[in-house]
Symmetry: C2
Subunit: 314 residues, 2 copies
């Protein structure tokens, strides 16, 4: 469930544009007004505001915002206000151009978005960067990571409920055999994770657990710090239990020395309209304080204000 | 240019449906009527006829057709009448389920269709087979072929005109180095062919020719019978000069002992609404008789009649 709170009566895009314009004018910027508008509109409403603002004032909303606000707050407002597909395209671009094996953003976007959403990201990427997403990912990565990431990002997974149990059985066995030989980059593991539907994969992982006694992620060395193994485990988590995966990202960001603001904000911004409620619940179960309180402790100022607003708290 | 001839005044889908129904009824089937209607309607018109026929007569048009006609003629009418994306999905399915290295249908569909068309094929495949195209292709192929085919079929190539000349230069060199080492399955060759835009690839191949003195396909052993090399050459041909590629398919089908009806019909049916005119021209230049005459000589009966109709001749 989403945490985004949209008022029962939403002002027209023209009214919102006027109020934003007013917030930018005069001495100082009215950050509270910016948050009270943008952080309480859904993706369609935000898109209309951008269009209307541009029509009325002849300037891109982001350009106007960029003159008034800065730093983490600016980045959060910018990312949040973008269409989800455009935002993901931008996150992919940032992840690709400074890609390192430890970067999980590509896996996260490839495996937690729906098939149609992921395809929309690829279209948005082309519109923005005049290249295909996969040509950039393929050019910036190598070897096993390339094989895995290009497939995960280009696949258009079937989303029907059908499950083939004998296939689940045979593919659980294929995965187990490969893992037993520590052949983690086996082309069959990559094929199965990269192409099967989520329903089919869940059946395969359950079958794995039943037949071989451990969860697949336990056998993928759940304590190992090997980055490729960690990537495989992240794929399984994102496919099977996205809320659990995101809870972990948020927890590690908050537990880290200082706050890894970029991961924390990314999860809040990309999931506020999707399943941030479930992520909050998973966080509350696993940690000693609610997520809102943790975010409140770790951040400050307008940046804190927008993240809390997206979490459904003012 | 297309060879399909659609009359200036097209009857309504209801009129066409009635005439088709009439052609099916009574003693014997009126094959001429079937051809005179279906082989002279474009994809949108054929789709409307299927819908209207189903509404009016409570039976799928293909089911009615299947009771009346058979063999090569039935298959040709069936393939032709399908939506292009549905038809390609079916051709992919047939190619995948009995896949052999010498089968070029997957390469042909992956590399001669536009990016949006190829995506529509993947959607049609899911609707029809309740699985993704790539999971079937990946499951039925292995090793280098799998790497190549899955990437070619899942890529969503950028179709803008932009060309990066320094990239063309560096990637021509990468390809040349790999070919010089006879490392034809080099992951960089697969990456470049599989992800770059057609405009970019044409620049890269031109650069290759200029800098290294041979066309890339000459260096890919243009006389070699190695199937993987032949596949790479087919990819280059499909990307750079589809009419030339299709001319060759048709020529080999006609030259073969007997006629490889399936390739001949496939090219005529899939290209009649696209570029069959150019394929005919390429054929006339290269062979001693026009394509229409060759088809006429090699086929017979209603099957011949529909192929000639699609070629724009009765």
């Amino acid at each position: 469930m989403a945490t985004l709170r949209v008022p029962q009566t939403v002002p027209s895009p023209a009214e919102d544009s006027d109020l934003l314009r007013k917030a930018f004018l005069g001495l100082g910027t009215d950050e509270k007004a910016i948050i009270s508008i943008l952080a309480h509109r859904n993706a369609t409403q935000r898109r209309r505001i951008r269009e209307t603002y541009h029509e009325k004032y002849g300037e891109d909303l982001f350009k106007s915002l960029g003159k008034e606000i800065s730093g983490d707050f600016e980045r959060a407002v910018f990312l949040w206000t973008l269409d989800p597909a455009e935002r993901d395209a931008l996150l992919v671009y940032d992840a690709v151009t400074k890609w390192q094996p430890g970067n999980r953003v590509l896996v996260e976007i490839a495996c937690t978005r729906g098939a149609g959403e992921l395809f929309a990201v690829r279209q948005a990427y082309q519109a923005r960067y005049k290249r295909s997403l996969e040509e950039d990912v393929a050019a910036h990565t190598k070897g096993d990571y390339r094989k895995l990431l290009v497939l995960l990002l280009t696949t258009y997974r079937y989303e029907g409920p059908e499950v083939n149990m004998s296939l689940a059985k045979s593919e659980a066995k294929i995965i187990h055999t490969a893992i037993s030989k520590k052949s983690y980059n086996d082309e069959e593991i990559i094929r199965i994770l990269g192409t099967r539907s989520k329903a089919q994969l869940i059946a395969t992982f359950n079958q794995y657990n039943n037949e071989f006694g451990n969860s697949i992620n336990k056998d993928l060395g759940h304590n190992s710090e090997d980055e490729f193994l960690a990537t495989l485990r992240a794929i399984v988590e994102c496919l099977v239990c996205p809320a659990g995966y995101f809870e972990k990202v948020v927890r590690l960001a908050i537990e880290g020395l200082g706050t890894d603001g970029s991961s924390l904000a990314r999860v809040i911004i990309t999931r506020a309209e999707v399943d941030l409620k479930e992520i909050e619940e998973a966080y509350a179960k696993r940690n000693s304080m609610p997520l809102v309180q943790a975010v409140s402790k770790e951040t400050s100022g307008d940046y804190k204000a927008i993240l809390l607003a997206l979490l459904g708290h003012e």
